[in-house]
Amino acid sequence: MTLNQLTAHEVIDLIRKKKVSTYEVIQDIYNQIDKVDNFIKAFLILNREEALKQAKEIDIKVKNEEELPPLAGVAVAIKDIITTKGLETTCGSKILKGFIPPYNATVINKLKEAGAIIIGKTNMDEFAMGSSTENSAFGPTCNPWDLERVPGGSSGGSAAAVAADEAFIALGTDTGGSVRQPASFCGMVGLKPTYGRVSRYGLVAYASSLDQIGTITKDVTDCALTMKVISGHDHKDSTSAILEVPDYLKSCQERIEGLKIGVPKEYFIAGLDLEVKDAIDKALKLFERLGAKIEEVSLPHTEYSLATYYLIATAEASSNLARYDGVQYGYRTEDYGDLSSMYKKTRSKGFGNEVKRRIMLGTYALSSGYYDAYYLKAQKVRTLIKEDFDKAFRKYDILVTPTSPTPAFKLKEKVADPLTMYLSDIYTIPINLAGIPAISLNCEYNKNNLPLGLQIIGKPFDEETILRAAYNFEQNSEVERKKPEICSAKCKEVA
């Protein structure tokens, strides 16, 4: 057993008790990356020198008996859409290749102040547009559980890195499921906080009314620890909420007796994998045994979520991505005449196909004569979708659903048909439209040893209750926590 295989809280404990040094921990992390990342391809860039330097600094603090911040010595991987000062940030796109941000995102500053060590930037679908990480300009990431399958997306690199023990914690972003779906495909814990809970300053914008930074961790305790660090108001993001950040670690350990759980019937429809359905049924029985009360609930506008999401997200994206024009940063084509041709050639060569497709859709939906029929219509339906949740939460404390209708699918399986790919986010998208928090955690492995995710949805700013439900599930579930074996097997072949 090497140190990188532990959870963040286990490593924090060992460092504090002086049983291991931070330097050893970070070395084990990079050893694992050297060993497996040729196959997994979770990372786009590493921060090795700086990370090892920081590890030594923490070890000096330990030696001097100084007080240690909450995440001291924890190796964290960052999705490459969050700006890191001095460390290349590409958003998985050719158009930002070589971009070195002059400032840190607020979450990065918070992690650093908490003693976390940024070990590298992770692969993703270009500008977070995708569900498989296959839309990265730098090639796909593979799922550690089966290298022929996708890790999910768009935070696929982050989820794969944590699953393969290449990091203890990773940050991702979730606009329509991009933290929860890859967490589910890789058997990890993924939390999308309430819109406004975590500052988006320094997060490169995709769809501003839906984007939220979230965490991917090995267990619920690590999730609670990280959320405590990254949450809270930031004067640099006027949409971040001025609310106290609760002690998630403490509250998640309380019992769930009497908790009222709603199970939305619209989520159990054709297209739902039978093994996923069985796993959720089994999970609900466990919640019942723990004293929760379970009832079926209806969210009648669920079937309109996907269309609503793709109209709103692409419209916002077409506006946000107008800034990539080859002037201030990133790629500029070599071959151009006038300004207009420079813009067009730079953007056409710099963006990949899915990004162009979404810019085109969004531009069309916002264009004169179509605005009311598409964008405004979608915003109105968004109101109805949110009202469905408001109504459900008057009666229930949390809602429980599958995270994705299927386990991880094969690489290339859905690339040719964008609409089929979009459908893999059908259970996560409504949550972003409603702005509410949700967590995905592993609840079973299927017959092919692929992880299956359970999604717990909460009221606005009530991350505490979903963490509590998740923690109780994790502590009492009989499903053993496995590690993906394929890594060591495949890697031995090469060694």
Binding site: A307, Y329, K380, L384
Partner: protein, 97 residues
């Protein structure tokens, strides 16, 4: 697909608006893909939203304004660092007049 919602000519017009350029093959592909996606979007017409207000921001929050105070920001050097073409402290673009 039943009917064409967006024609190739419209795809060319939208590309112009979005500052994108496509070859003939790409135009055909985008026209067909956008048509099937827009066809799926027609689903929203099943719902009557005449009396429903639109939602732009999902969590209602007070409008926050920062104090109008000068604070240190990035230096000119930092701001220009990532530009490929810079001249005399400015971003440089092709001649426009």
């Amino acid at each position: 697909m039943t009917e064409k919602i967006i024609t190739k000519k419209e795809v060319e017009y939208v590309a112009q608006l979005a500052n994108l350029k496509f070859n003939e093959e790409e135009k055909e592909e985008f026209t067909s893909q956008l048509n099937s996606i827009l066809d799926y979007f027609k689903k929203l017409n099943e719902i009557n939203t005449e009396n429903t207000p639109p939602t732009a921001y999902i969590i209602s929050m007070p409008n926050l304004l920062n104090e109008d105070k000068v604070k240190p920001s990035l230096t000119q050097e930092e701001v220009l660092f990532n530009a490929k073409h810079v001249k005399k402290g400015y971003f440089q673009v092709p001649k426009i007049i």
